[in-house]
């Protein structure tokens, strides 16, 4: 009955990852169709109806201009809801006892949950990209950087969702942060307009919104146009990622809202 206990519990990480992916697979139609439908509606309303009346930005048509922002919007909300639900649900039902009693490290637990949530939203992001290409001609100048931004953003917001799921003590808190903080920040974050069309005072305000940097950087990887420099965007992205990693490791070190 003796066996080697390895330093990295890959079977454990894989078990969590598969469990989380299977959870999405059970509601496959719903989890894919909803974002695709929403995005299509955005295109019909903003791209076709309003966009035709908007002048192009730096040679990019309005319909194409909003694509990176729309993908980011989905990435934020899907990553967060997936990861927060994934860890909140076992806390709610009590099945978290098994996770806490397993020979698995905090980093491995995160790898499983956050990895799965990020994977799901990356796939969604790519599906939306494909959907968008049906509505408007797209160019991607820097595909590798685009992918890097996509993965980093998905990972960061999945971590953020994971933290939210651990912090939340009720279902309403789970939707509170995405609804009351994330959605406004995203809409004000330049998803649908370049921030330099704003009056100077609002423009300065916008620079305090981290979402501006994420959307701007992502859009740059498509069209080479940006509200702020790409280097700044990348720095903000990495900073946000590091902040989430730090918070999560603090949570596990102290057992915050996980253990008595």
């Amino acid at each position: 009955m003796n066996f080697e206990v390895s330093r990295f519990n890959r079977h454990g990480v894989w078990a969590i990852y598969r469990f989380e992916i299977a959870r999405a697979a059970r509601t496959l139609v719903q989890s894919l169709l909803t974002p695709v439908l929403t995005t299509s509606l955005y295109f019909i309303v903003f791209g076709a109806a309003i966009g035709s009346r908007m002048q192009s930005t730096s040679g990019v048509q309005y319909g194409a201009f909003i694509v990176p922002g729309l993908i980011m919007l989905t990435l934020f909300t899907e990553s967060m809801s997936n990861a927060s639900f994934g860890i909140y649900f076992p806390k709610f039902t009590g099945t978290i006892y098994e996770l806490l009693s397993a020979p698995i490290s905090p980093a491995e637990i995160i790898l499983g949950y956050v990895g799965a949530a990020a994977s799901k939203s990356i796939i969604l992001g790519l599906i939306i990209l494909a959907t968008a290409s049906l509505f408007t001609p797209l160019t991607i100048l820097h595909p590798l950087i685009m992918l890097a931004f996509l993965v980093l953003t998905a990972a960061t917001f999945s971590l953020f969702g994971f933290i939210l799921g651990i912090w939340a003590t009720g279902w309403e808190q789970l939707s509170f942060v995405p609804m009351l903080i994330l959605t406004p920040l995203t809409f004000l974050g330049g998803a649908f307009y370049p921030i330099n069309i704003l009056p100077p005072i609002w423009r300065s305000f916008s620079l305090f919104n981290p979402i501006v940097y994420l959307i701007s950087g992502f859009r740059w990887s498509f069209y080479g146009i940006a509200d702020v420099s790409v280097a700044t965007s990348a720095t903000v992205m990495l900073g946000a990622f590091a902040l989430c990693v730090g918070t999560v490791s603090w949570i596990f070190r102290t057992g915050y809202r996980l253990k008595n």
């Binding site: 009955m1 039902t93 099945t95 098994e98 008595n260």
Partner: protein
Amino acid sequence: MSIISISNLNKSYASGLAALLDINLEIEQGEIFALLGPNGAGKTTLINIICGIVTPTSGRVLAAGHDVTRDYRHARAKIGLVPQELTTDSFETVWATTTFSRGLFGRPPNPAHIDKVLRDLSLWDKRHDKIRTLSGGMKRRVLIAKALAHEPQILFLDEPTAGVDVELRRDMWAMVRELRKSGVTIILTTHYIEEAEEMADRIGVINHGSLILVEDKARLMKKLGKKQVSLHLAEPLATLPEALRPWALELKAQGKELTLTCDAERPTATYDLLRRLNELSIVYTEINTHQSSLEDIFVGLVSTRS
């Protein structure tokens, strides 16, 4: 070497409630240890600390020689836990959830083992069923299957028979005996004292967070258990006759019942007493014997100390 070694363990919850007070306990490899105590005594808290679900306030716990906090990976890999609460996923199948547990505990897939566990627990027919469609007793079995999926050396059963019918209870104990035979150490809690009396090698009694007794079951029964012989008399006695003084007798029920408390040192006491009663022409109509159960001992312990 003990498989579990607990020294100076204390736990106070954030509410300030002291749930465990200076617990010291050694559990031997391969034994069945029953942890008894009234509701709220601290049994689950103790188990949860060993398993990593609750953090201790102070003290040290070793499982299979590994510190459960510092070297949790090695300690936990050897431990299986069946929790008191029926907490299961709803939408997973029995097979999937059992396989998940094995992976989570770091073991490579082994369908043959999952197969065996499910068959042993009579869950085989239900393996493709979603857990939420199972009855309470079946869910309990699923929790046991999950705990056994990674072939633990130490198994904790926190009230495994709560809400379980007679037949399953018998199956469960048969399985526990099998596991013990294969070298697994079993620590269980139960409020059915007769189960502990039947199953356990050693008994620990915990009350108000303190371990008030740890004893070999057989020795405990001998030490604290009483055997009594009661005689129903045809004619009541007003007082105990002088000639009966040498026996540890008690006159009860308005002199109609004579009770002898047996003493292992005097094995012929009952025989001698009956002979003497014959000589004295004291007629009895009925003889009853009573042996105190673990339950009597337990109730005595917990009520005197609380």
